[in-house]
Symmetry: C2
Subunit: 225 residues, 2 copies
Amino acid sequence: MADMTQITPRSALDQPASFKRRGLLFVLSSPSGAGKSTISRKLLADDPGLNMSVSATTRPPRPGEVDGKDYHFVDLERFREMTAASQFLEWAHVFDHRYGTPRAPVETMLEAGQDVLFDIDWQGAQQLYQIAGGDVVRVFILPPSMTELERRLRGRRTDSDEVIERRMTRAHGEISHWDGYDYVLVNDDADACFAKVRTILHAERLKRSRQTGLIGFIRKLERED
Amino acid sequence: MADMTQITPRSALDQPASFKRRGLLFVLSSPSGAGKSTISRKLLADDPGLNMSVSATTRPPRPGEVDGKDYHFVDLERFREMTAASQFLEWAHVFDHRYGTPRAPVETMLEAGQDVLFDIDWQGAQQLYQIAGGDVVRVFILPPSMTELERRLRGRRTDSDEVIERRMTRAHGEISHWDGYDYVLVNDDADACFAKVRTILHAERLKRSRQTGLIGFIRKLERED
């Protein structure tokens, strides 16, 4: 994860330095196995202006997962303390575990002019959208087919048949929420899908409604002559 | 201008062939001299899926302008016949001349699955937005400063001092409509500004609301096991 205390230089696609803008809340959702994590990783590596919102979860770490990077792994008691203290922007039950987005790091990143990437499900996306007054960019990644999704889940070799079956049922439910997203992409080629997500991120940064520095620039133009 | 009777292959940023979508109405506006025409030309050369809407005008051609390519040059009588027969999507008075967007070619291009680029002013953008029920992408190009705008207008060597003065007054009026656009860019570097406009075009093509073929794809996924 990129250092969030430092404001990094912007790409050629950004406005001149004088153009301040609101940080983006960029949501990536997909059924488990559709390739969202790979795309998130690529985006973060590609873009120093984007930072990950690391969710807290009560589920145990999978092999290779790093606490504080992939998730903040907490026990149920701690999770309940955090919800009681309103420390989550959104949280939800998924299977037997809880997942939540800690509020403070997101606020810190936005204040530092950074954009924030959320790897959350449709429940999280709904809550975040309501909280943020609609100023959220929501991207949904579809698998090319359910057969391919199952093939990818089995290819991970981390889940039992029972868990895979549960994930497939859940995938159908997740996909049914496609209409709550601004962009819906099919991940039939990881590089092409990543390029699309990056294009969306770059274009959304250029939206007039988020250019808080624009009014100052316009006033300067108006006063000239 | 690309051949509008032929549907050309899409770029890597487009969805799989199964994904049909509504054609885009893509509006580029700017004060005269801010570089809009250069960007339009580059976009059309870069993108076979994009076609220009050629306006009709009663103003005489400037040196180098080609009838049917830069404008359809018509006399006042013909223009009035066309407005009377509702042959324009939008039209407006600018200085002593009239400018209008012929309806039929736009409808033909959209039906052929092509996107349409409109090089029109704020009046045209307003009318088009109302007619199209809001499904228009509106991009406004600002000059880096009014001094630079005047320098560019003088550099053309096509206009008298009086005309340049009139254009500068009109530029202030045009700029005052910045808030009617979805994206506002500053053209301080022609290549960077072109890259931004292209990014916006590519991202807007991926919008869920325009993917008319998406519902069929989702139904296919839902029926799979």
